[in-house]
Amino acid sequence: MVNKTRREWFGGLVFREKPGFVGYVDDVMADRLKIVKDENVILPKNLFSTPMDAHFALTTRCNLFCEGCYNTKPDDNFSDIPLEKAKRVIDNLTNLNLFSVSFGGGEPTLHPNLFEIARYTREKNILPNITTNGRTVSPENAGSFDVFGNVHLSLHALKDIPYIEKAAALIVKFAKIKPGLNLLLTTETLPELENIFKWAKKNKFSKILCLRYKQTEKNKGISHLQIDDSTEDVYKQINALRKRYKMKVLVDCSMFQDIAKYGNLSHDQMYKVDFNGCQGANAYIAIDVNGFFKPCSFWKETMGDAESLTQDFWINDVKLNAFRNYRDNEGCGSCGYLDLCCGGCRLENLTCGLPVSK
């Protein structure tokens, strides 16, 4: 089991794999838990000492090329991160005391060394997780998924459902893990939301993560999949289905502002369960197939080699700080949710119409 602690500006963090949680404690409790403090490092307020989680793209190859994919196109040059490079990156993430690494791609199961990299990650006391489209899951390899903490299956279009159902059953049977569902909200999936919840419940998915369709350079111009999620209806619907089917539901960080506006959750409720907006370049980073890191999976510009990222660079780099300090609009300064929202999604086409009050 992966169990870790570390000091932070507010005190400390306690990470446990089972039961899974991250506890935030104050300085007094961090001392009582004997979490070691590095007196030489001054941690700035509102910034984690290093990321908690890294989203690591192992390959740009894919076996689906979903319409509207933000990351991979059929005419790309495909590459896998070499095994030794991946291990050096993991070594450095170990030095930085990350809690988890979430493998993605492309389709990560197409990387020839996926399970070796995952096992190496766990040996280094970092929790490996994976997001996959499930097409390559078979009775022969399903048992190997037991190395992962979380397995999430991506549902981008309704035609994926039979394949995901089959993959989920194999992972439950052979790896003894109940997968989660990454549900992309599009003009195709949103009208079927209730049926998808019903199906996910029946097939014993552990949770549903509702993802906003976002446009990047890769899917620019494919706008017919974009839903009008700036209305209260979307959030009312998600909330009603969550209650009706008693499913654990996560939402994309870019949806934070709309949930704050329409979701009837108080600031305190959101704080208590660590419900945030953008945590890019703070709680997490993304690492691309070349081993270079960037603040978010959707962000184009990389900012250095993940195998040589240091805490000093993490805290002081100008570009990372510019990303962190971004604010979506002038109203942010007076908004009662700013400490949780962190200024909105940095992808320029998303705006929120805030401020809202606590």
């Binding site: 039961p19 899974g20 979430s102 997780n129 993802l211 996560l250």
Partner: protein, 53 residues
């Protein structure tokens, strides 16, 4: 001796998503789920104290 405080708890493992999101609270059930990590953290402190003697 000061007791210290648990400031907040992020329940379950939150990875596998491109974002820093969290669960929508599950009402009463969710509050009960949150008790598990709280008790675990308290147990860790008690274990540490016993070790110290």
């Amino acid at each position: 001796m000061k007791r210290g405080k648990i400031l907040k708890v992020r329940p379950f493992n939150m990875a596998n998503f491109s974002g820093g999101s969290a669960y929508l609270p599950l009402d009463l059930f969710f509050d009960l789920v949150l008790l598990i990590p709280y008790y675990m953290l308290m147990a860790l402190i008690v274990m540490g104290r016993n070790k110290k003697g």
